[in-house]
């Protein structure tokens, strides 16, 4: 294994109009590492995930996947944006799981998991189908292969979305608040799939509001606020010995909550100042 991180984010800046969403974010993620990103709403966690996946363009800084510059290339000594086809290929090497699942509504579950393998990675349809069924088995939904996404519960849709993202053998998986849109009783089934991936050695960035999960699954935990990474460290450092007052203030709002794999506290958290 080389020293090159799978993902390298260097001083990335992003603004939406007057709002600074990312204010110089740097982050390295190494092979097999699981990084969880926590922070209050509007801290830039989701924007970071979307920028890494090039769903949003960045205004400054640079990002590398396996040492390869993302979204740009050198041409006669100058940087210029890559053509759409090359950007698409780079995206195809990462997996993304969205808060709102975003399964393709006009396709069956199986086709959702098959299509990118065939279209983007040129696999033979029967091979893609076998792989899709294997992954659906892994997330416990092989019996739903022919169902349409609308017929599934939120938790089931999210598990299909994970299988879909895994189907193209991504180098890194990005989770953008994967359980925030779920009913509380459906959160655990999704988290257990993610936990299973982490134990399998998948490199991952997980943006989440699930504090106990963020602690349990992480090799390293990142706290963001106002578009900056305020603190980064092992789960123990972050949750037990927070150095910055901002992190302490953030965590104290979660204190006294039962430490379990459950999303019920989230609903209250939005209201409590």
């Amino acid at each position: 294994m080389s020293d090159t991180p799978v993902l390298r984010v260097r001083d990335v800046r992003k603004r939406f109009g007057d709002h600074v969403a990312l204010d110089g974010v740097s982050l390295d993620v190494h092979e097999g590492e699981v990084v969880t990103v926590i922070g209050p709403s509007g801290s830039g966690k989701s924007t970071l995930a979307r920028c890494v996946h090039q769903l949003e363009s960045i205004d400054g800084g640079a990002m590398y996947l396996d040492g390869e510059l993302l979204g740009y290339e050198f041409h006669r000594g100058h940087l210029r944006p890559l053509p759409d086809r090359r950007v698409a290929a780079q995206r195809g090497r990462m997996g993304m799981v969205f808060q709102q699942f975003n399964l393709f509504a006009h396709w069956s579950v199986l086709r959702n998991v098959i299509e990118a393998q065939v279209l983007v990675h040129g696999r033979r349809p029967e091979e893609a189908r076998r792989e899709a069924l294997r992954l659906l088995e892994r997330v416990g939904l092989a019996d739903k292969a022919d169902a349409h996404p609308r017929m599934l519960s939120g938790g089931q849709q999210q598990r299909v979305a994970i299988a879909r993202a895994l189907a193209t053998n991504p180098r890194i998986m990005l989770f953008d608040e994967p359980t925030s849109a779920l009913d509380p009783e459906l959160v655990d089934e999704v988290l257990s799939v993610v936990l299973d991936l982490a134990r399998g050695g998948m490199t991952m960035i997980i943006v989440t509001h699930e504090m106990s999960f963020a602690r349990e699954v992480a090799d390293r935990c990142v706290f963001m606020e106002k578009g900056q990474i305020v603190e980064t460290g092992t789960p123990e450092e972050i949750f037990d010995n927070p150095a910055s007052p901002r992190l302490r203030a953030f965590l104290s709002r979660y204190s006294g909550r039962p430490a379990q794999l459950s999303g019920e506290h989230l609903l209250e958290e939005e209201i409590t100042p």
């Binding site: 990462m94 006009h106 990118a116 990675h121 193209t168």
Partner: protein
């Protein structure tokens, strides 16, 4: 107990005695009145149709399958299908252009839609038919440079080409708006997911966005198809032998105006009803997986 008024429902206080399944429907006098009025109107209209000799039903029946009428019907159908195909393809391109991130293209497509939605198709038909006055020869060559070949306009612009050009330009503008509305109705997360899977912009448009937009596009596009079919009757003013023009040719000779208009109406009705049925099947097809 005997103090209870005798009009009170039996055992009104006993809950187990009531079962709404045994309820009888209410009598609604206004509905019966509306039904009666409707019946009278229909009967009156039918009586008018049957007893008025000037409809000349036998004449209409004789011309219904007249070869000239059928040829006109064929021309109407061919023209409708050509224009609809061209209009749909160009409309999709124009809609994609309007949503393009490249401003000049989006702007140009917007201007096109505004201009061609504003000009009545009848005006356009006459204009294109008379293009030869504005542009006597149609050149092919380098813009502002030398011309390689040119053709006399009046030999290129027949009534058919004028009709196809005029109606297509009109139809494209309307289809572009219908398609654009359909595209905008697709949840942005679908495009995000497609891009995230590594689809190129074109793959995500063709494979993910457009098929889902179809659910929203089909109903108004079906109406558009139907109004285009009827709109083709305008081409009779530039002497193109469509359905209306064919019956006009006949009644200008025989003066049997009403029965021949009935022949035309009957065919329009038949075609539109079959189109509506096709539209419903399409809607079911594209509606699957949704709701």
């Amino acid at each position: 107990m005997s103090v209870a008024p005798p009009t009170m429902a039996p055992q009104a206080g006993a809950p187990q005695a009531v079962d709404v399944a045994a309820a009888r429907p209410r009598i609604r006098p206004l509905r019966w009145a509306a039904g009666a009025v409707l019946l009278v109107l229909v009967a009156q209209f039918a009586w008018f149709l049957v007893t008025n000799p000037r409809f000349e039903w036998p004449v209409a029946g004789r011309y219904l399958f007249d070869p000239n009428v059928l040829r006109g019907l064929g021309m109407t159908l061919v023209l409708t299908v050509i224009v609809m195909l061209l209009g749909s393809v160009l409309g999709v391109l124009l809609a994609a252009g309007r949503l393009s991130g490249f401003r000049p293209v989006a702007w140009a497509c917007g201007v096109y839609v505004t201009v061609f939605r504003s000009i009545p198709p009848l005006v356009q038909l006459i204009f294109w038919f008379n293009l030869g006055y504005l542009l006597p020869r149609i050149p092919l060559g380098i813009p502002f440079g030398p011309t390689f070949v040119s053709w006399p306009t009046n030999s290129v612009i027949s009534s058919l080409t004028a009709a196809v050009i005029g109606l297509t330009l009109h139809e494209t503008a309307y289809m572009a708006e219908i398609v654009r509305a359909g595209i905008l109705a697709v949840d942005g997360g679908q495009r995000d997911a497609a891009r995230a899977m590594g689809f190129t912009a074109r793959q995500s448009f063709v494979k993910v966005v457009l098929p889902q937009a179809m659910r929203v596009i089909v109903p108004p596009a079906g109406s558009e198809f139907i109004s285009l079919l009827k709109g083709t009757s305008l081409v009779s003013v530039i002497a193109m032998a469509d359905l209306l023009y064919s019956v006009q040719v006949i009644y200008n000779r025989t003066y049997e105006i009403v029965p021949l208009l009935i022949v035309a109406c009957a065919w329009y009705l038949v075609v539109v009803i079959s189109l509506s049925m096709g539209q419903r099947r399409l809607e079911r097809h594209f509606g699957k997986g949704q709701r």
